[in-house]
């Protein structure tokens, strides 16, 4: 039996160390090559013209950057309208056209101390506001801004419009009350909890008439894809055929956002600021932006469903047509929000279920009969 030779073992030690080093080097090399491969792959994908254009669309033009700028503009626009209606001085006098007021407020809000209540669930409290904003911003991917320049659904692109994008938007938006309720829950305050339940209740009341109101345009166009619904409105805008549907959609969407006449979830004279009571600083800013993004989204939906989307003046680009109509609709939206007293929670549910729901259901039935029995209607609404 061979005896253990210490010196032999010692001379082999160097090989062993060398081997370990090589092993590490192999891992490192493999990792670097893998990263480079991934970058190469991404680059190869991006370099494909249609993919590159998709990225440009998703990040720049009708995508993230555009939506964020639109969001900043929207806040300014809303405050401007409110200032005119309410005889406020700040938003109309600070800087040129009151443009600085928004930045002053944004800096003020972000510079504020973030106070997390002792009873709050800290991680949920930190994550939920941003998630809310992300969910709301995601839905903008399905808005058909232009005949070609869309994030999804550009003709001939690798990422066609989903055939159910209308349903998908509503599906994503159902997450919003969940987040409101959760934020109210994890804040650890009774006011927040009441506000969270009210927000969930509000959405529960208003979502149903809103979804059913959007069935009318979908039935006329014969499609659930946002792009097809807009494309079908070349001959006539659906607001001409479905004014009642538009009205129910407008009211239900305001209720769904939970802004002024329906702001029982954040009623400041009752429950301080509802589910947003305990949010401060950047978390409040994010939630505030999410609310405005939701208002933008519903206005854009109304433009797409009832006002012909990108169809309009033929010498203008489609997106300009869309934006002009969007400004008008958003003005209407804001005007309604600034001219009524806050409704009680039971009155909101009462309004939504007793008046909006039957009206929208009746409209669906009428559209069904009209499509079948009025002979000239179908060629008119299907579009060129």
């Amino acid at each position: 039996m061979q005896q253990f030779d210490f010196y032999l073992w010692l001379s082999g030690l160097w090989d062993w160390i060398w081997g370990v080093l090589l092993w590490f080097w192999g891992i490192l090399k493999w990792f670097v090559i893998w990263i480079l491969d991934v970058i190469d792959g991404i680059w190869a994908l991006v370099a494909l013209p249609e993919n590159f254009m998709f990225l440009v669309r998703a990040i720049l033009m009708p995508g993230l950057i555009f939506v964020l700028f639109a969001l900043i503009f929207t806040v300014w626009y809303t405050r401007k309208i409110w200032a005119r209606v309410q005889d406020r001085r700040g938003p109309t006098h600070v800087g040129k056209y009151g443009g600085y007021q928004l930045f002053a407020d944004a800096i003020k809000l972000m510079a504020k101390e973030t106070i997390i209540p002792l009873k709050a669930k800290r991680w949920m409290y930190r994550i939920l506001p941003s998630l809310l904003l992300v969910i709301v911003l995601l839905t903008f991917a399905f808005i058909p801004w232009d005949p070609y320049w869309n994030i999804l659904g550009a003709p001939g692109s690798a990422f066609p419009d989903l055939s159910v994008s209308l349903v998908l938007i509503f599906a994503l938006l159902t997450a919003v009350p969940v987040f409101s309720l959760l934020i109210g829950w994890v804040s650890g305050s009774k006011y927040s909890l009441i506000g969270g339940f009210r927000a969930a209740n509000n959405q529960f009341a208003s979502e149903i008439p809103m979804v059913i109101s959007s069935v009318g345009p979908a039935m006329l166009a014969g499609s659930l894809s946002m792009f097809s619904i807009v494309a079908a409105q070349t001959s006539i805008w659906y607001v001409v055929l479905l004014p009642v549907n538009f009205a129910t959609f407008l009211v239900a969407s305001i209720a769904s956002v939970g802004t002024f006449p329906f702001d029982a979830p954040v009623a400041d004279s009752e429950i301080i600021f509802g589910w947003r009571t305990e949010l401060s600083g950047i978390y409040f800013t994010v939630v505030y932006f999410a609310e405005f993004a939701e208002q933008m989204l519903y206005s854009a939906l109304m433009v797409a469903l009832f006002f012909g989307g990108f169809n309009g003046l033929p010498f203008l680009p489609g997106i300009v047509n869309f934006l002009i109509k969007w400004l008008v609709i958003y003005f209407l939206f804001t005007l309604v929000t600034s001219s009524f007293y806050r409704l009680r929670q039971d009155q909101i549910v009462h309004l939504c279920w007793k008046y909006l729901l039957p009206l929208s259901v009746l409209n669906v039935v009428l559209v069904m009969f009209a499509v079948v029995y009025i002979p000239g209607l179908l060629p008119l609404v299907i579009g060129g």
Binding site: S269, S338, R344
Partner: protein
Amino acid sequence: MSPDILDEASVIWFGPQHVSAHGWATKLTLVGDYIVECDPNAGYFHRSAEKCLEFRNFRQGSMILERICMMEAFLAEYPYIAAVEKIVDLEIPERAKIMRTIMLEFNRIHSLQFWWGQFAGELGLFAMLLWPWVDREYTLDAFEELTGSRHTVSYATPGGVKYDFTPKFHAKMEIALSRVKERMPVFDDMLAGSPTFRLRTEGVGHYTAKQALKWGLSGPNIKACGIPMDLRKDDPDPNLAYGMIDWEVPTTHNEEHPGECDAFDRLLQRFKEIETSLDIIDKLLPLLPEGPIIDPKARAKVNRLPEGEGYGRVEGTRGVTSVWLKTMEKAQTPWRAKIRGPCFASYYSLKHIVPGARFADFPAIFGSLDPYPGWWDR
């Protein structure tokens, strides 16, 4: 109520840091959306006004009272002056009497303009919150022109008033009053004409005239039940000019439930209060004679008061406001002062009015009763 309902109850403190609790704390017990118990708590706003009065002489004391309720500053300080005038014998010039009355009514208009905005804000319409407050600036400009101060006017002094009406003040008052008259129909549309406002206020927070008398409510809160109880008519102060003219006490009658009032009636009542104030000012302005504005001996007489008791009261915006003073021989300061504000009654009546209401109706109820904590924490 059965005890098992209270098992699910949650207690919520409405105040003192709540944004629409004006410095008071009310403990509410909620079952679902309904309030089953309302427990008003006084004491969060205490600034010992009564004690402060014992260390001020009789010309300074009224300034303490102004700070109890800024919105009706002159109406709040006047009872003190009336009480001093009861103790010492002073001859108020005719001109000063009318000027005091005009300013009292002007102050009432200002206070109600503020209340419009506050009530609308509590019900969630920001446009209506800010519109009356912009108009209110014209009223405050007139106050500033007359006294140099926008809220705490301290206009009257024992024996008369401090400043004479100038043509500039007349012009500014004319602007302010015409603005109020011009905007009354607009605000009537915005409040009483708004369907959502009616939804929120009709049938909310109602009580009967009998209950109102029992709880000791006064002012618009009891006139809204149809009881024409008004100090300006019932007990006209000899040093004011309410007796010189002919005017009506405004009351509101609820047609569905006679002898009861809800939040909506209390709003209508306050509209009528403004109309009455405008009417009184319009009738008094032509009567304004030339002459002195203060009793020339007042300064000497008020320095040291004889022993006595004085009780001055006035019909404030929120109800009967009164001050009782007790002085010793050659007194420089009151021996004891007691303030009786109108709002203690209206605040503690919440205890009986609120249970059974929805949580969201609570702002509508206390907003229409208009309690201000300075009046009970003195």
